[in-house]
Structure formats: C-alpha cells, structure tokens
Amino acid sequence: MAIERSLTIDSIDVKKSRRSGRWSEWVIERVIQASGLLTIVFIVLIFVFLLKDSLPLFKTHSLTALLTGRDWYPISDPARFGLVPLLAGSLAVTLGSIVIAVPLGVAAAIYLAEVARPSIRESVKPVVEMLAAIPSVVFGFIGLLILAPYVKSLFDLPTGLTAMTGSIMLAFMALPTIISISEDAISAVPREYREASLALGATQWQTISRVMVPAALSGITAAVMLGIGRVIGETMTVLMVTGNAALIPHSITQPVRTMTATIAAEMGETVQYSEHYFALFSIGAVLFVITFAINFTADIVLHRFRRVGR
C-alpha cells in the first residue's frame, strides 16, 4: 500500500501531508516562528522602556532644554539637564578615534584582501578577532595606567585623562569592525574587475587604488559607519580614561564626559524614578536613536552593495 501511495503522490499531496503533521509538530513550528519574530519584539521593547522611563522628565523640563542646554548639573537645585556638553564629549572622542581608526583599518583591510599571502591572512585575522574580544574594561584599565601618564607628560597637561586618551583607546576597539567589514566588501568585488584592470596593463597598486577600492567604497563606508556606532556606544573605556568633566571641550587634550559614561557613572547614585533617573534614561533614548540611525543606514548601504556587487 505504501508503494501504491508513493506512486500516486504528487506535489500537492506532499504539501498536504507535511502540513497535516501531528499537533506537536504544529506547536514546534509556531514556537520557532514566534522566536523568529522575537528580535523585532525585543528592539521595540527596548525603545518602549527607554521612552517610558524618560518621558516623565518632560513634565518638568522641556525637550529643547534637554537637547540645547549647555549645563549638566544633575544634583544642583534646580537641577539642569543640558545634553550639549555630553554630546560634545561623545563627538570629540568619536571623531578623534575615527581619524585614527579609519585610515589604519581600511589600509589593513586592503592589505588583507588584496596583498597578503593566504598564510599571513589566516594568521592576522584571528589576531583582529582577539582585538575585538578584549573587554572594554581592560582597554580602560590599560589606558588609565599606561597611556594616561604618557599623554600627561608628553603634552605637559594637568591630567592625562583627556578626550585624546579616550580616542586612542577607542580606535583600537573600532578597528576590528572596520577591518572585517571593509575586507568583506573588497573581497566581494567581482574578480573580473581585477583581471580586466591587470589585463589592461595596470599595476597591482593601480588596480587596488583605482578599481577595487572604489568598487568597494559603499561597503567600506558602511564599515566606517558601524565603527562609529561601536565607538559612540562604548562605555567603560571612556568612563575610565576621559576624565569625566561635563564641560564643552575646546581641544582634544581636555577632559570630557560622554553620554555613555554619564549614564554609567550616575545611575548608581540616583533615586529610582527621580528626575535624575528619568534624565539618564532620556540620554539612553537619545543614544539609542543615534546608534539606530547609524546601524540602520549602514545596513541599507551594505544590503544595496551586496545586491549590486554580485
């Protein structure tokens, strides 16, 4: 009978028998479907909770005062919650680290994708992964004990805990992201491009600089954006090495305080559901919106690049 059935089976039958499986199978499939959707639920939940605990702030303070206020005095009376010095701090540290990490990271990616022998590539890539794996608190620790005294004496500063110290440490943390995604982008450029260029008599360097890198540029741009996203969100390192002065910096050799460090440093000392607590959550919401925008755009760019690139 089994043979008879298998002879008469057609595609519709297969679908039907697969669908009308036992109820346990139906349950499992629904559970799997639900967990697939869970990631969307989580990202929405994070945003909802950030909003829920930051909106009460606006009963007593205006959004404009938060976004354009130049003073962050959370425990003065009345308290002033102005984000500008913290935004400036995050911006200074981020810009500094990007200036270091982008040329370095893109150069390393070019080297790995186009120049390095496979044996070198296979031994350097794990090292880059190791760099990504070193905990941010360890970078902060090394920055605090090794780099900061060095910066202090080199520039003859009152303190070595400055925006620049943070930038240097954060550059190391942005590097793995920038390198691995840029390398993927360069490797994804069709090999015909390279072959056509070389066949026309271009040198390897001309091929790299005028064909491969321009072709991978949108991927590299996305890599840089993701690196920026990583740096803006970094917390422990900047908390430990940037000096934590909530002032608008005039040079990178001054102490700054970033948005992330403010949350980390002050949340432990606030009363739950106080004005200060709500203010810290609103910093979190601003951070979430910024990183969301960066990651969202980077992913759209990457997605388009992958479709066009192949």
Binding site: F49, A107, P135, V138, L144, L145, T203, A264, F288
Partner: protein
C-alpha cells in the same frame, strides 16, 4: 606583480605598517597584563575571598560570579537564538518580513551596552521586580548576545547543503524531523562556535550588569538567582578606579585573569571553526 616607482613602494610600506599597528595592541595588552600580573596569580588569589576592602585575599567570588552569569546567559540565549536562526534559515521566505528581522538583528547588535544596562534596569530589575540579581543580569546579557548567536547559527544552518534536506524529505521525514535529525546535527559545530563567541562577549561586558546584577563587594557566593553577584570585569573597574591604595599587582592580576578567560574562550571558538572548515566533507 612588483610595485612600480617610489610612490607605490611607499603605498605598500604604509599597508605593511598598518597591519603592524593593528596587531600591536593585542601583543601590547597581552605583554603588559601578563608581565605585570603573573606575580599576583596564586592558588589563594584564584580561590579565596577578598579581604581588607579587596586589597588582599583573592577574587574567587568575582570569578564564580562571572561563570554563573555566563552560564545563565547562554542557557537563555542559546535556545532562543537557535530557534530564531532555524526560523530565518528553514522557514522564512525571502520576503519583507525576513528583511525586517535581519534589520532588527543588526540594530540589536548595535545597541550600546550601557543602553542594554538601562533596559535591564527599567524592564527586569524594576518593572518585573527581579531586583538587582543574577537573573536580571543574565536576561540583560542574553539579550545582548542574541544577535551573535543568531547570526552564527543562521550561517551554520545555511552551510548545510540543500541535498541533505531533500534526501531526508524524500525519505518521508517531516520538515521538523528533517531539521531536528539532519540539519541541526550537521550545523551543530557552527552553532557551538557562535555560542562560544557569545560567552566571550558576555564574560567581558561590564556596562549591562552595572545596574542589573553586579555587587560592589560581596565576599560570598550568591545563594539564589535573586542574589547579587560580583563579576570579574566590574571588579576590575572597581579596583582600578574606586579603591584607593590598592597594589598594582592585584589590579594587573585581576586584569590577567579576565583577559586570559576571555581570550581562551575566543581562541577555542577560532580553533573549533578552523577544525570544522577542515573536516567539512561537503
């Protein structure tokens, strides 16, 4: 293809330099932490409770705290992450919903760790009233490593050849039976690699547990999942910035244990992955 002219030599020189500058920090961190920290490492340091305001004794509760946090985190994130990956790889069609889920994963991966900490505080500690506890910390960290596990698992599932699935379905197995008996076992090493990478990430993070699980000083092991715990990265932060007159060897010793733990976990993931690549027979 030899470089042509001085300009090209310079360009290649800069490329070589960049790779040296990129690998240097890893070597430097390892060298500094090992050379200054190894003298602190002793049996007592690893297995004793801290004494004299953390200036003497050991870091045992911090090590155990991190291990418990990581175990709990993986226990929560692994099943969820693998199921989400199964959905994406085996069930979802290449439609708009799939793209939306991928966008959510990318953004979940990009949420700053301190924002996870805020969410954990707002949602788990206060809203669900779990308190500052091991459980709240594990839930927060699980959310954070979910993208790592989903991405690695999805990749591993998609690397399983289509013919495996077709062979199983042709033998009359249902879709779930095929996934459970054929696809998952083939993808298991890859999924494990993702889980290990997630472990490394969870073990090293400080910001998410700052307000959800970590105890400043608690010279005993947690009694239940609703108890606070000490954790290695937070302990390093505390003794580096909050405790005056602490000997550097204790600080570097703690850093060495943390770096050693995290790099060991990551190295095992890298080794496992290269083993899979060599052994893969399809």
């Amino acid at each position: 293809m030899r470089p042509r002219g001085a300009g090209e030599w310079l360009a290649y020189g800069l490329l070589y330099l960049s790779i040296i500058l990129v690998t240097l920090p890893v070597a430097a961190v390892l060298f500094i932490v090992i050379s200054r920290g190894y003298s602190a490492i002793s049996w007592e340091f690893l297995t004793a409770m801290p004494r004299m305001g953390m200036r003497a004794g050991g870091i045992f509760p911090a090590i155990m705290g991190t291990l418990l946090l990581v175990l709990g985190t993986v226990a929560i994130a692994l099943p969820l992450g693998v199921m989400a990956a199964i959905y994406l790889s085996e069930y979802a069609s290449r439609g708009r919903l799939n793209r939306l889920i991928h966008l959510a994963i990318v953004n979940l991966a990009g949420v700053p760790s301190v924002v996870y900490g805020l969410f954990g505080l707002g949602a788990f500690v206060l809203f669900l009233k779990l308190g500052v506890s091991l459980l709240a910390g594990c839930l927060t960290l699980a959310l954070m490593i979910l993208p790592v596990i989903i991405t690695a698992s999805e990749e591993a599932l998609q690397a399983v050849p289509q013919s495996f699935r077709e062979a199983s379905l042709a033998l009359g197995a249902t879709r779930w039976k095929t996934i459970w008996n054929v696809v998952l076992p083939s993808a298991l090493p890859g999924i494990l690699t993702g889980a290990i990478l997630g472990v490394g990430r969870a073990a090293g993070e400080t910001a998410p547990i700052l307000f959800t699980a970590a105890a400043f000083f608690l010279p005993r092991l947690p009694k239940s999942i609703f108890d606070q715990v000490m954790a290695l990265p937070y302990h390093l932060y505390i003794i580096a910035t909050q405790v005056p007159n602490i000997s550097q060897s204790v600080q570097y010793g703690t850093a060495l244990v943390l770096v050693g733990l995290v790099l060991l976990v990551n190295a095992s993931a890298i080794v496992l992955r290269s083993y899979i690549r060599r052994r893969r027979s399809w």
